[in-house]
């Protein structure tokens, strides 16, 4: 995937915050350093929280990074909206087509 920042050898480039979309601590901190501190914007620019885990791993970590860097309390940082399906579901199941008629 296309990275928001160049590789520089900074150790934070090796700390993965979002395992679904391969986003590092440095990418998130660079955005915050540029003034982008809104979790909704960080989410859309880096795609944290938008992969198969739907934010279960990364969102708490990102909230703690934002809190540390901006001085806000973690509970002042809103959690992005969660939506259905809460866990990944196969399209064929949703379409009702995973039964016998599928064997054609």
């Amino acid at each position: 995937m296309v990275k928001m920042t160049e590789n520089t050898g900074d150790p934070r480039e090796k700390i993965i915050i979002c395992r679904c979309n391969d986003v590092t601590q440095k990418e998130i901190e660079d955005l915050i350093d540029r003034g982008i501190t809104d979790i909704e914007e960080i989410k859309r620019l880096t795609r944290i929280g938008m992969g198969p885990c739907q934010g279960r791993t990364c969102i708490p970590l990102v909230i703690s990074i934002i809190a540390r860097k901006t001085g806000k309390k973690p509970d002042e940082i809103p959690v992005p909206a969660t939506r259905v399906p809460v866990r990944p579901v196969m399209m064929g199941v949703l379409a009702g087509e995973m039964g016998d008629d599928d064997e054609e």
Partner: protein, 385 residues
Amino acid sequence: MKSEAKTVIIGGGIIGLSIAYNLAKLSESDVVVLEKGYLGNGSTFRCGTGIRQQFGDEANIRMMKRSVEIWEGLKEELGHDVEFTQSGYLFLLYDEEELESFKKNVRLQNKFGVPSRIITPEEAREIVPLLNTDGVIGAAWNHTDGKANPFKAVFAYAEAAKRLGVEIYEYTEAKGIKVENGGIKAVVTNRGEIKTGRVINAANAWASKINEMAGVPVDIPIHPYKHQGVKTEPIKPGQIEPMVVSFKHGGVYLTQEANQGGVIGGYGLKYGPTYDITPTYEFLRGVSYRFARIIPALKYVNVIRIWGGFYAETPDGNATIGRINEIDEFYIAAGFSGHGFMLAPVVGEALAELIVDGKTNKPLDFYDPYRFERGELRGKAIQMG
């Protein structure tokens, strides 16, 4: 926050930001953009990412031809990658009537230099190997259509506009517009008042509210309809490169994101007018069923998320762009009916030319905000989703 600006643009989506950037590019950089949430959150970030020139009328074809030219150079122009890729648009056609109407469109598109053509089902399968072509008798294909990343495009326009001196205020909502003797005096926001003589309504789904604030005396029907999008887990890149569209299956469209590999798309299920964008189970089931009709292998792919967004619709499915004569220096660029993202580069350019030079060579007359009052609706724009 500035207390005075020559121009105030209401709406920090890609349309407002493109207008701001293009005004600044023409040396009109005393511009403030007001966004009531964060940039792009209204409709841009919720869009289906497609960019196409395959329309059925001259104005949209010409506008999109120019827009694609701009999209092609946007990374260099704005200094940030917007992930524009010309992976094409493929319209699947299932009967003679549909085929004839797309043949007619292709002739018109070719006349204006868009290299679209009608291809066979076999050729369509060469482009998208996983395609189910049962019942397909042909397809309309244009390889210069494509897609881009809405998140990065908004970011790129905003950064480029700021470099030229534009000020952008997020979480700043227009609450009122002061008009005296037919001229604009100020925009009132939740964070104070900005004196200005010019307002551009780029609020799309909320445009009618802004018109009301200014007392625009023209009937410009723009209503918000909820549409939804879906995204699957990543699959091997390059499987579904173009945007694949089928009107037979309820206006379904789908494509694979170039860098991420997930399949995204939607179909013509809409609710409204409404300002509610809660996703629905009805959509989740309906879109899964339709995707499986077009690409059967998607049955085995997990859906990871769905989301809602607005089509700010007008009665003929075309935007309203232009000057409101009764209020000096009040402009509108809204009601994009699902086409705002793809049109944004050319709309920004055209409106900035109209404002700064007093004229533009783009066919903005087609989007005349007064056409509804005059009862001169345009042919319905080709619309999906």
